[in-house]
Every structure is written in structure tokens, then in C-alpha cells.
Point group: D2
Chain length 490, copies 4
């Protein structure tokens, strides 16, 4: 095994050379691996994938697919090839629960650097595409475009800007008292990109005009806040149990975005709100299952299926005791059936959505984590959130715990995400004509989905990724950042 | 004039005696006044109203209505008779902007006394009926029933309990830190009466069951919170611009209340929310015109007219400069037309509603004012809110400033309120068969609506009110309360 | 035993009759008990106490003291007689940690009633004298004077008013936002009585004038705040580790009070401050041992002894584990000797003070507890504070745990308190010429100090207390207050 | 004049060349100016200053001082030469009233750069020496040493580190909730340098040990917080009116610092505290006159004089109306003489200190200002604080308004500061053997002290400063920082 890896690494080094030196006409063939193409069928044993330029030319068993004589052959015998993985919901500028002000102030001049770092860590870990659903639009688009043009390496990015309707950054009285107004305004504007909380006051007609302008800034998809952010600010009405937009306003948003050819999705935190979201014509929703003390109704699930609605997850890994309960058909969180606040139906909802067949998407809120924020989690006795690259595996484990098979999970991180975002013609499966985005694993993910961590090679658009070199310019993950005592305060 | 009054007072004293001594079969006749019966037609000069027991027997000019020989005659020549006035929205347990904790703690054992005091001050000022749309249900119903049974004097009360969906009392972090949890829970429960914020999480079916139970507690009508309370708790989503219940949930509430034969109304603070409210089938809404930075749409107004929808006002008296602007067709508050938060369309909305013909109701939020709270208003340089009895006149002035005629205003405080609350068969106009609720004024309210302050006599259910004796047991208006330095700290 | 009690009760009933009927010239003799006279010597077996009017005429063994023939004899054979107990530090208007606003608002008009209730509960439990070191001066003096004149029953009261220099009531931003300014000002004034925080700005000369005026209001002793209240308001400087008055200012206060013939004591919370306090010439200090992360120095203790300085306790009952540690000579709280904040030397200090011979006084902060506040303690998982009458026993247990003998503890609650307050000529021991304040116990307090709970009879100024009748007009301890759900909200 | 300047600039350029090229043995002579040497005597007309290496060789009228033949002559005829100016109290890492978190986070890695920038702006404006009395010790010492070694240009720095006893940075609940604990701890440690709030709990002996260690870190002088920071945190005891250290503790600090040969000064905010400070043996105090509602006593002033005590100012520029009052012998702020909080004696104190002859020092709290913080001042309608270089002139204007002559003011910014800090042997006046620190002005400062703004040349240690080149590496004053919209968010 070890020797094998050495050989592979040597190959990688060689191909890296080729990557830059050879003309695109040269073909490459991955030979001998088990191919799980993302379509859900039986894996192809002893498979061959032939790649030319950025795209896949042919896929199949070696018995059927011939390797061109002049193709560069890469021996991946004993390995497993899956489509490039994706995350349907990341925040490349990380969204810390605590320490916002210091994070923003420290990196205000370097958001592009942080985004690039995140996109490279993602790629290193086999995520060839990520969908950023909330962040500062301008630097997100800049890095996206640089990656697309090949100027910069990184996971392929699709970006949304603000969660439309949200005040992005400064929301608590404490934070508002602790920062200058000039800074608050600059940060709020950077994250809201014209999509902030004033939209909730507009008529459908006004919203339609505004959303068209919003889209024309260059976003790839739109996400809006159907309710508040789930963190009740007081006991009267938090933000969790209220609609930020009326159904009519939501319809106006959805139609305006669809008219521009983009998909639209939502943030919401209650079952009544989720129903409104589905009815309004949205394509997908993030964290569908998280509806607090209100259970998703059967009607809503039926409508989801009818509308081919997709759901992001953001599921937490269960404790062994919780996992045991779920196996026995019981659901932690909802012993009491009176709809009393404080309980939640999150786990039951997830199990029901899976059983009903609503397609779930790996969807994590992940980004890179600021070391000070990481320590804050620890000091509060909260589980340290996984960074991008590992967060997706955690989400997959949570999927398995709620009843999804390894094949379902694999599709939840590949084909289904592409389908939800209307990108299936380009990515999501290993098929001729699609982008050559793929991951070579040293162990079978259908045996244990956590084997997606055992990466031998990542290829994006036909190029082998030099994983050891990523991220190129570490900021949040630099040795200095990880040990601020030594670095800071020169 | 003065002699006249003395005579009248003597008469009142005499009749007070009769009130208690005589059997109900005795008839009383008010003779010689100008009668404005509330129907909007030409006033009846030299009119006669004959009353037997609690009700009006006949109304008309002396030329047509004969006074029975054995009737007790009261000479009201030169006076003006109008129907008993009403307020479509009071809080007899006053709802202070500041000082909640101390107010509640001080009077927790005496809510019934305060309610009684308020109902008596109202009656003294010519309000024969008030609609309490938010307060502790239990003592409200107790006082209501005592007044109805004649055990206690006071304005006729109809009560709603909580604004359904509202956390009634303890909502700010400061207040929650400054009171014991036992007290908070007791107060929240007293004001919410099973109608608190957890309702927002329920399905339509669950809401239907809950609202039926809510009504069965003995309320006279229902009010729910379609949005938050207009006081944004932070800049992200306040509570003003969000829906507390989805349209479907609202429909469920409306239908459940209607099924029990009661009317239902709302609190809301944005134009999109007002539209939802009208569409959901509500009978009326409080402070329709107050929609912040969103203008009420023409469609909404059309639907209001079609549905015979009524609006409470809560309008502020304009400054002379503002009044001048309105006369010139300009609207303070909305110079800027971008829907930018911070502005408001409240005055323009009011003018448009009036012009369109949506019936407006005198509706004030009034109650009695705690002296410490009064001082707090003064210390903050805020206009001291008028107490019940005067607050209604302030509202009438605000109506006149926005374009209503004196006759419209008079109906807004009598017939229209009765109609909105489905009580027109009993009260609201001076007509045979209706309750003998009326006010005798010494000056013509159609010349100047503020003449409603010039009260010579108030009659409720055929009984002359001993105005000088009210309130019987002053609490908030007692000399001691008004001068706490002398009284408190024995 | 039971029969014995019945007999005693019958005797009590009989004497109660006598109490009111007989002339003062009549003598009473308590015959046959073991007398512990408070002077620390061997108890007198088979003792006799003869009382005439309010005072003791003679005390001694029956062999030496003859009972006058016409004296009313009370047989207390087998019982134990101790001097009336005292508490050197109570707050008859209780000082809640939480719920101040509601407590004050609820009882603002009834402080005298609450003080009376507290003084009666104290008396019922054998406390014939209490020293109130912080509370609203006016009602405290009123009740004090009524008790002294015999108009009202209750423990003899000596009162101080404010802890001079303290803002008495409204100190936290939350509370200040949650109450009206009128109320805050009224309450602050009531509790500060001209002795509030502005005194810290005065020159020694100005302070001298002000303190003279303060004393002339009619206080019995003075307490001032040498430091803040021990509750750090922030991490920068709390109030615990700072001097509220400079040494020179403290000297001015002490001298001004002494010039008026009163004793003066302090509140302080650090060892450096305690040193300043002793040096300034104070007579005593409350909670000397509580000095947080600073250890009392030997020099300070020496000076205390030299100056005949007294210490109040406010000691907490130790857990069994802590008690075990102390027995082994270890001190919970100060394992680390670096003076690092967060630790405290409270227990070690107490043990050292006792060993050195600094006289300690039972001193509790006790009052009656508002039921809502009691629940708040429970809901926060904090030990419910004992009410007056029991709090003193808790303090005695804490004394025993830190090394005091039962005799020392008995004197700490009788003779030493009288001495500290310069009242030894009147109370504190059982001697001819002193007030006949005494408690008859059914078990020996020198065997177990907790036997002070086993009270057979309390006598104050020669009158037997009708303990069952106290408190006469319960407020905080009324059934209604204890069960507010049933009582409040009529 | 203009031509003159051009010539001067040419000379400067030439001398800059010389500065780097020539050996130190070369002498330089400033010829022809009026010299105000700082000793308070008559200015020297047509003066000559001869400099060799870093020091002054001779000073006097051209009639008495001969210019060596080979000396480089600089013609400054018509100009005025004063000693290099100083500021007795700066914060080179600026201490913002608002926006701390973002400021610290943004520049945490660059404190040295900001300190360097501040020291260079100071030098550019004629401040050849500054005394930093509060800031992060480590980078302050690093920049100080680099400037001293000639590695970096800048004003000569003497540094103190923390205001001993202060929690340096994170003190408000809002800020503590808005930053991660890791960051708070790092920043608090950086600014406290072992001199934080825990010192208040130590015994004199412990303090002595700690202060010795503190000094041994390499500070040049010590400042401690005798009281809190003047910003009352609540109405009970703020921090303004209390002593952070007892007199005995203060004595221990003073003695420990003196034993190490350094001077020691204080921060305090009340008159009683100022008295303690003087008595404790301090050498000087910052903002002596600022004592809130307590007036400095005559005794304190007498003791100051006896002890040769120095005072920093931090005085505000008066409005014309206030200035007029002062001229008439009235003092804004203290109409009321009752010592009532809310008033202050600051202006009267200043006038009395000046009249009594207590030497005052230009002392400003100045640093460079973060542009966001500057906007915050503007948005709050507060006067924008002057940056270092201009702040000193503002302080001088304030001195003039309170009665100081121009000569007194000049000495307050030169000789007196050197004397107070025990540096008079090196700097402070223009005398042979002292450092050649001087400023050439184009207008007479004894006519108008604001002429210190009219700088023709600054020389430090014999080197002409290239003022146009400073600051070398602007950070807070960079174009990018001043226009963050364009710069930040690449």
C-alpha cells in the first residue's frame, strides 16, 4: 500500500509536469479502477476513463473502452473513482458564531485571499465544486472568475451573495455598540450587496425590479431568507417563527430570479414557513428538516416531491445514544407532541424526508475557521465545527445515521447537487462530455462512506490537482495564524 | 347657562334618586334637544327620546313623538344628544411604554380595581361602551360581568384577552433580567391566557383547535398579531416587517373564531402584512394606516371596501405645520419614495383610506395612566399620552386633520364601531329598541367635534350616570397615587 | 416532655393574662432552670431569676437567691435560660439579590408592615434585639419607636439607615432601564436618607458636616461603605477591590459619628481596605473575614486586638468536605498563594481571627424573604437563604465549623454584640439591673448550639412573648403571599 | 519669504546629504535666528548655535559665539529657534473611545508600524521627545530601541507600558460579548504587561516585589491608576470616585519604582485621590485639574509646591463664551458649591494650579487616529480629537485660555517636561552639552504660541529631519486607510 502510494505520488509529480507542458489535445486515461459514476447503478469494475482537455471522452469497463495508444495512462488499479464531490452550501468567508468584529476587521482587506484559501482547501479534499450561499459578493465573484479563467486554482465556485432580506453582519446590540458605524456600514454593505433587510418592506412589483438588479450583479443563484436566522432574539417573537416575506412577496422574488434563468432557494426555520417556501415555487431549500417545534406536514412533503424540490441538510452527527434511538424508530427531541417551543422535530423530519424520497444534498455551512473562533468554541464546551473538506464528511455520517445508504449519500454529494443547481449537463456524474472532475479513492466508499477521506488523487477539468501545494497562500490555516502568540505582536 | 346647569344638576340628582327607586316600567323622556342619531342624516331639532327600562322606545321631533303623560320628563332644550360614544380599542389595564415591572408588581393584586376605575372614567366621559383588545383576561371578564349585571357601574366592556401570538409582557432582555422568573411567568400567563407566542409554531389544524379553546374562555372578540409589535428589536429583522403567522395560519385563526360567532381583528405594522390580513378574512384591523416605510396598495384598499373591512386609527395629532402640509396635499413622512426604512407613509395612508371610504373607528390604546409613567414621559420629552376619556377626543382631532367631517367622526365613534363589532342591533345609534346609551352635550359636535367634551349628562341603559361620583374607588387617579411622595413610604 | 410542654403552654397563657393585667410592681421569678448568664462562666444549676417590671432584680442559684413570697413563680425546671439573642446585622426590609423592582413596587406603601413582620418573627425566634444596618430609614425609625413605646410588639431595633456612600437600590443598567425614573429616585432617596454616593466626593470637612446631619436624623449607629459591594461590575475595577473613601475621609466620618456618641462600623471587601478601616478608628466591621483574593495581614489582626475591634461574620455553612478540610488545617479557596483574583481567603481568615481572639458577632444580613425571590434562588440552583430567626442558627453552625466553642458562639450572639454596640449596660447578659430579655430552652445549648432552636419561652423586658401570635399581620409570610397564584389576580 | 523657504529647503536637502555622508566630527552652526533657549530668560537676538555630533557645543549671540571656520553654516536669519518640543503623555497606539475591537484586530500584527508612524508624525511636527504613558509594552520598547539606535527615525520615546492596576482593553460587557476570549486575553496581556487589575489585591510587600519585576521589563517610567478611569460604569460607584490602591499600597508602588531610579506618576479623577497621590510621594500626576465635583484643596496645592510636583494637563479648548467667563474670574462648571455630582471644578482647578505656580506640562493623550474612529466622533457630534502633532497645540491654546503666558507655555512643552521626567541633563533647553534637539520657526512663539505650527526645520540629535518624508510607512494616515471604500475589499 505504501509503495503503491509512492508510485502514485511519483505519477502525480510527473503528470503535474505534463499538466503544464502538454497541449490540451493530449488524452489521459485512468485505468483499472472501480468506477462509481454517480448515476446510482452497479460500479464498473476494471474501468477506464479517457479524458481530453477538460472533459471526459469515454467511461466504461476496460473490456469496452479502449485506451488510445498515445494517451497518457495512469494506473489506478485497486482504486475507486467517484465524481468530483460538491457542497451545496458553503461560506468561504467563514461565518463565525462569535468574534465577528475582530474577524472582519482583521481580514477586511483580504477577503479574496480567504476565499481563495477556502476554495483550495475544498479542492484538496475532493470538492471540485462548491456553492457559496452567503458572503461578500464582490470578492466572491472575483475569486470565482479567477478560478474559472485558470488564473487561480481552486474548487469551482457558484455564488449567491447575501441571503436576501438578511442584515448580514451587525445584528446584536452588543456588536452594534462595539464597532464604529463606518465599519458596520461598510461590512453590512459588503455582505448585503443591495439585498438587505429593507427588501421586506417592498411591494411585489418593487421586489421584482430589485431582484432583477440583484441578479444582474453577476450572482449564479439566489437564496433568500424566508424567516429569520433561527436565533430568537427575544422570547416575544424571535426571528425563527416568523415570515420575513409574505407568500406574495416570495412569489415575486422567485419569478424574478427564474426570469433571469437562475435557480432560487431559501433559508427558513419553521414548518409553516417551509410550506410557504415550497408553494412559492422555489427550487430548493437549505436545512429543510430544521423546523424547531413544528413538524413538517405530509402535505408539504407531497408537494416537495411533486415539484422536484431539493433539500440541503446541515445535519448534526448524532451521539451513539441518539443513533440507537433512531434505529429503534424513536426521535430525540420530540417526545412531547404539543408543539411546545424548546423541542424540535429536526431528526424525525430528516428521517421522514429521506423515506419519502425528497433528495437531500450535502450542505454544510462550512468554511475555514479562524483559530481564535476555534478556541472560543472549545472554551464554551461546544463541539469545534469542522472546516471545509471535513465538514462534508461529517454531514455524510449524519446522513447515514438517519437512514441513507452509501450510494444515496454519494449521489447527495455529486449528482443530486448538480441537478438541484441545474448544472447536470456539466458536472455531477462521470459521463462523456462532462467535465473531468473526479476523485480517486484508495478504499471503497460504498463499503464505508467515510472512505471519501482516503483520497489518492483529485482531478478537476482534466487537470490533476497538486494537493500538497494547497492552499497556496494560507491565511487562516497558516502556522502564524494557528499560533498567534508567536506571530502577532511582533 | 350656569343656572341652566344648576337646574340640570338638580334634575340629575333627582333622577339619580329615581334611578334606584323606581320600577323599570316607568318611562323617561328627554325633551327639546337636537338629536344626532348616529345614522348620518339631518339632526332632529326639538327632538324627543322616550326611554323605558334600558331601551329607547321612540325617537323623533316633538311634533311626531308624543311624551307619555306619566313619563318622567327631562328638559334638555338647547342641548345636543348623541349616541353613547365608544372606543374600539382600549387597554383598561394600561400598557405602559416604560415601568412595566413596577406597575405590574404594584397592582398585581388589584387589576380588577384598575379595570373598574378605567371603565368608570370612560363612562364619566361619555364612553358607554369600550372594546378592550389586550389585557389580563380573567379580571377583565370579571369586571365586564359585574358591569353587565349592574353590580358595578362602568362603561360596557367587550374583551379580547391577549393579542394572540404575542408574548404579552416580558420581552426585553433588561426586563427579563430585572424581574424574578416566578413573577414573569405569572404575568405572562395572566396576559396571554393561552394565546401566547407558541401559537406561531402550530399547524392550521392545531391552531384551529387552540383558537376554539381560546374563544371558549369567554372572550367577546379576538385580536391576533399578524406581525410583531412595531418596535424593531434589532436592525436585522425587527418585528415590524415580518409575519408572525403565515396566511394559511391566519385563515385558520379567522375561521375558528368565525365558527364561534365572533369577529376577529388584527395588529399589523406593514403594508404587505395588511394585505395578508384582509385576504385572510378578518373583519377589521387596528391602526391600518401605520405601515412604516411601505405604502398600502390600491388593491388592498379595494379589497377592504369589497369585504366591508373596518380600520382602527391610533392616529397622532399633527403639528400645525404638518396639518398645513396635509391641506396642501403633501404628506409628512414620505418625501422619499424609495421604500427606505426610517420613513413612513402613515399620514398618506390615512388620507387615502378616508378618501376611498374605508370606515375608520375611534381607536386609541387608551387606559388610565400611572403617575410614575406619566412623569417618565415628561422626563423623556415625549408627549404625555392622554388618558381614557380624553384620548378619544385627541383621536377625533387627528381624524379631522386628515380630512374627515364632524359627522363622519361622530359615526366613527358610535355607529361604525357598533357595526364593526356586530353590535349594531343593540347599540351605536339612537333608535327604538336599542339600548338607551346616550350623551347630552351643551354644544353642537357637528360644529366642532371637540364639543364632545362638553357633557351635560351621560345615560347608559336608561340610567343617568352620576358622573361626579366616578370613579368610585380611584386607584391610579387617587390623590395618593398622584402624589406618591406624601402617600407612599408611610 | 409533651406533657411538660402543655404545662408550660398553660403557664404561658396564664402569664400572658398577667402580662396585661398586673401592675408593674409585681415580681416574677423563673425557678429551677440552668442559667447561662452570658458572661462565659460556669452555668448556674437550679437557678432563679427574679424580674420586676422590665428588669432583672436578681440572678443566682436557688441556694442564694430567694424568691419573694408574692412573686409570680414560673417553674422552668430542666430548662436552660440564656440571655435574649441578638443579630448584629439584619435587613428587616429584605435585600433581595434579584427582583428588587417588583419587590419595592409591591411593598413601597408597606415597608413599615414588613419591618414589623420581620421584627416579630425575630422575637418569636428568641432574638430580643436586632441591629438593622441598611434599609429605608424613615419607616425603620417609625417601627423602632413603636416597639420601644410598647405600641407594637417586636424585637428591639437599632437602625443605621443607608450604608453611607452606597447608591442603595438602582445600580445595574438593566434595572435602571426597567423602572421609571420617578420610582428610582423615590426608592434611592428612601434608602439613602442623605447618605448616598455623592459623599465620596466631599472633603473631610464637608463630610464631617454631612455626617453630623446624617446622625441627627435619629439613627442609632452608622455604617459606611469602605469599599464597593463585592459584586464586581466589570473586570476592570469591580467595586470589591477599591476604596470608596480615602483614609482621611474615613477618619472624618468616624470622628463625626463618635462626636455624636454613636459607634461606627463598615462594609469592606478586601484586606487592604480592612486595614484602612481599623486604622481609621472604627468600632467594628461587618464580614471582616470576606476579603476575596487578599489575606488579612497579621498586622491588621494585631491592631484589631489592640483597638478592641469587633467583627460581624456572614459566614457560610461549609459542606462536609470543606468542614473536613478545615479540621485538617487546610482552607478551601486558597490553595494558590499568588494573590490571583478568583480565589479567596475567607475561611482561613475566619479561622485566624478566631484563634487570635478577635470577637466575632452573629451577623447575618437576614430579613424575611419574598416568595418570588425564594423561587428565583431555587430556579438558579442557589441555596435558598434562611429567613431571620433561622439565619442566625446557620451562622452559629458556621462558627462552630470554623473552631468556636458553643460558649463562644453563645456570647457571639449575646454579650459580645451588646458590647460591640455599647449596650452592655442594658442588655447582653443576665444580671441585676439589666433588661429582662431572655430565652428559655428545652435543651442545653452548650451541648449543641443548635438547641437554641428549642425554645420554650421568650421574655422581652419582663414580658412573656406570645410567640404563637407572631407575626401579628403577616405580609411576606402570609398564606396569600406564599401562594400567589391563588391570591393575586383576583 | 517664499524664496527664503526655497533656499532653506535646498539647504535641508544639502544637509540631508551631509547628515548621512559626513563624519560626526563635522560641526554645524545655525546662524542668525532669535533663540528662545527654554530657560525663560530674554530671547537671544541674532543668535548662534553650534552643534557637533548629537550635541550642542555652544549657544549665544553672534557677538559672543564664534562659528568655527569649517562648520557647516545654516542661515536662519529672521527665524526663531526653540528647544525640541515634547508631549508628557501620548498613546502612540491610539486609545479609541469607540471601535476598540476592530482597531485592535486590524492592527494586532502591526502595532510596531503604528507606533513608528506616530513617532514620525510627532517628530515631523517638532516633537523631538514623547512620553508614552499607556500602550502595549513590547512593541513600544522595540520601536523605542530602534529609534534610539538610529535604525528608525522618530521622536525619542520613553515608555511606561500599562497604567498599573488597569484592565487595559476589555472592560465593557458589550465588548466582552463581542470578541473571542482568546483575543481578549491576548490583547489584555499585551497592554497590561503584568501590571493589570489583580495588583489592587496585593499587600504592600507583594506589590513591591511585583513592581520591581514590572520595572525590570525595561520601562522608562511608571504610571499607576490611583482611581478608575473617570467613566463611571454605574451610578453606584463608578470608577471615578474611588481609590484603586490604598495609600499604603501607593506608597509601596512609589518606593519600589524610586528604588529602581525611575520616576512615577498617576492617573486619578478626584480631589481626595489627588491628595493621596501627592502624599504618597509621586513625582507627577496626569490631568491633576480634572477632579469632577470635588475641588482641589489648598493643602494639596501647598504640598505639591513643597514636593516639586508636576501636573499633566489634558485640558480642553474653551468656547469663546467660556473663555470670557474665565477672564472675568468665573468658572464654567462650578456655579453650585454643594459638591453635587454632575458638576466639575476642572477649569477653576487649572486656574488655581497655574496661579499657585504648580508647573504644568503639555500632556495630551494624543496618538494617530483611525479613520473609522474619526468618523465615529463626527457621527456622534463630538469634536474630532486632534492627532499627535496638532493635539499639543490645542493643549497650548487651552493653557493660554487659563492664564499661562506664552513663555510659560513654551517651557511647559520643553524644559518642564524634561525636568519632571528627570531628563534635564539631556534635553529640555538649548544649552551646551545637551542634545541638539530644536525647532526652527518662521514666526515668534512668544507673540503667539500657535506659531509653533510654523515650522521651518526640525533637528533631532544634530540631524535635520526630512519632514516631508515622514511618516515613512503610513498606515493609519495612508491614502488607503483614509478612503477605505476604495482600498479595502479588493
Amino acid at each position: 500500500m505504501k509503495n503503491k502510494h509512492k508510485v502514485l505520488l511519483a505519477a502525480v509529480a510527473a503528470i503535474a509536469l505534463l499538466n503544464s507542458a502538454l497541449a490540451w489535445s493530449q488524452q489521459t486515461a485512468l485505468v483499472g479502477a472501480t468506477i462509481i459514476d454517480g448515476n446510482g447503478g452497479e460500479p464498473i469494475k476494471d474501468g477506464v476513463i479517457v479524458i481530453e482537455g477538460k472533459k471526459i471522452v469515454s467511461v466504461g469497463p476496460s473490456s469496452k473502452v479502449s485506451v488510445p495508444a498515445d494517451a497518457k495512462k495512469i494506473d489506478v488499479k485497486g482504486e475507486y473513482i467517484i465524481p468530483g464531490m460538491m457542497d451545496a452550501n458553503v461560506h468561504l468567508v467563514p461565518w463565525p458564531s462569535w468574534g465577528w468584529i475582530e474577524f472582519l476587521a482583521r481580514y477586511e482587506n483580504n477577503f479574496d485571499g480567504i476565499i481563495e484559501e477556502g476554495a483550495q482547501i475544498a479542492l484538496k479534499n475532493g470538492l471540485t465544486t462548491v456553492f457559496d450561499s452567503m458572503g461578500p459578493l464582490k470578492p466572491l465573484m472575483e475569486v470565482r472568475d479567477k478560478i474559472n479563467s485558470g488564473e487561480v486554482e481552486g474548487s469551482r465556485m457558484f455564488v449567491a451573495g447575501d441571503i436576501v432580506g438578511f442584515r448580514a453582519v451587525f445584528t446584536t446590540p452588543e456588536a452594534m455598540k462595539s464597532a464604529t458605524k463606518a465599519f458596520q456600514e461598510r461590512m453590512n454593505n459588503a455582505f448585503e450587496s443591495m439585498g438587505g433587510p429593507d427588501l421586506a418592506w417592498l411591494t411585489p412589483e418593487q421586489l421584482s425590479v430589485r431582484m432583477t438588479k440583484y441578479v444582474e450583479q453577476g450572482v449564479d443563484f439566489v437564496k433568500y431568507g424566508a424567516t429569520g436566522d433561527g436565533a430568537p432574539v427575544n422570547s416575544s417573537t424571535g426571528e425563527a417563527d416568523v415570515l420575513r416575506f409574505t407568500p406574495e412577496q416570495q412569489k415575486a422574488i422567485v419569478d424574478a430570479v427564474h426570469a433571469k434563468g437562475l435557480i432560487v432557494q431559501t433559508h427558513q426555520t419553521s414548518a409553516p414557513a417551509l410550506k410557504v417556501v415550497v408553494e412559492a415555487g422555489n427550487d430548493m431549500a437549505q436545512h429543510c428538516a430544521i423546523t424547531g417545534p413544528s413538524r413538517i406536514t405530509d402535505d408539504t412533503i407531497k408537494l416537495m416531491l411533486k415539484r422536484h424540490f431539493y433539500c440541503g441538510t446541515q445535519w448534526e452527527v448524532l451521539t451513539p445514544a441518539q443513533e440507537e434511538m433512531v434505529k429503534e424508530g424513536k426521535f430525540p427531541g420530540n417526545d412531547d407532541d404539543n408543539g411546545k417551543p424548546g423541542m424540535n422535530y429536526n431528526i424525525e423530519n430528516a428521517v421522514r424526508l429521506i423515506k419519502a424520497g425528497v433528495p437531500e444534498l450535502v450542505s454544510t455551512d462550512a468554511g475555514t475557521i479562524d483559530p481564535d473562533v476555534k478556541k472560543e468554541y472549545e472554551s464554551r464546551g461546544r463541539p469545534v465545527r469542522a472546516s471545509i473538506g471535513e465538514a462534508e464528511v461529517q454531514d455524510m455520517i449524519a446522513m447515514r445515521q438517519r437512514g441513507m445508504t452509501n450510494m444515496m449519500i454519494l449521489q447527495a454529494s455529486t449528482k443530486n447537487i448538480a441537478a438541484a443547481y441545474h448544472k447536470l449537463n456539466m458536472i455531477g456524474t462521470l459521463e462523456p462530455g462532462k467535465m473531468a472532475d473526479l476523485v480517486v479513492l484508495t478504499a471503497d466508499p460504498l463499503v464505508n462512506i467515510e472512505n471519501v477521506r482516503k483520497i489518492a488523487m483529485v482531478m478537476k477539468e482534466g487537470q490533476i490537482v497538486d494537493r500538497d501545494a494547497l492552499p497556496r497562500h494560507p491565511i487562516l490555516t497558516s502556522p502564524e495564524a494557528m499560533n498567534p502568540g508567536a506571530f502577532r505582536m511582533k
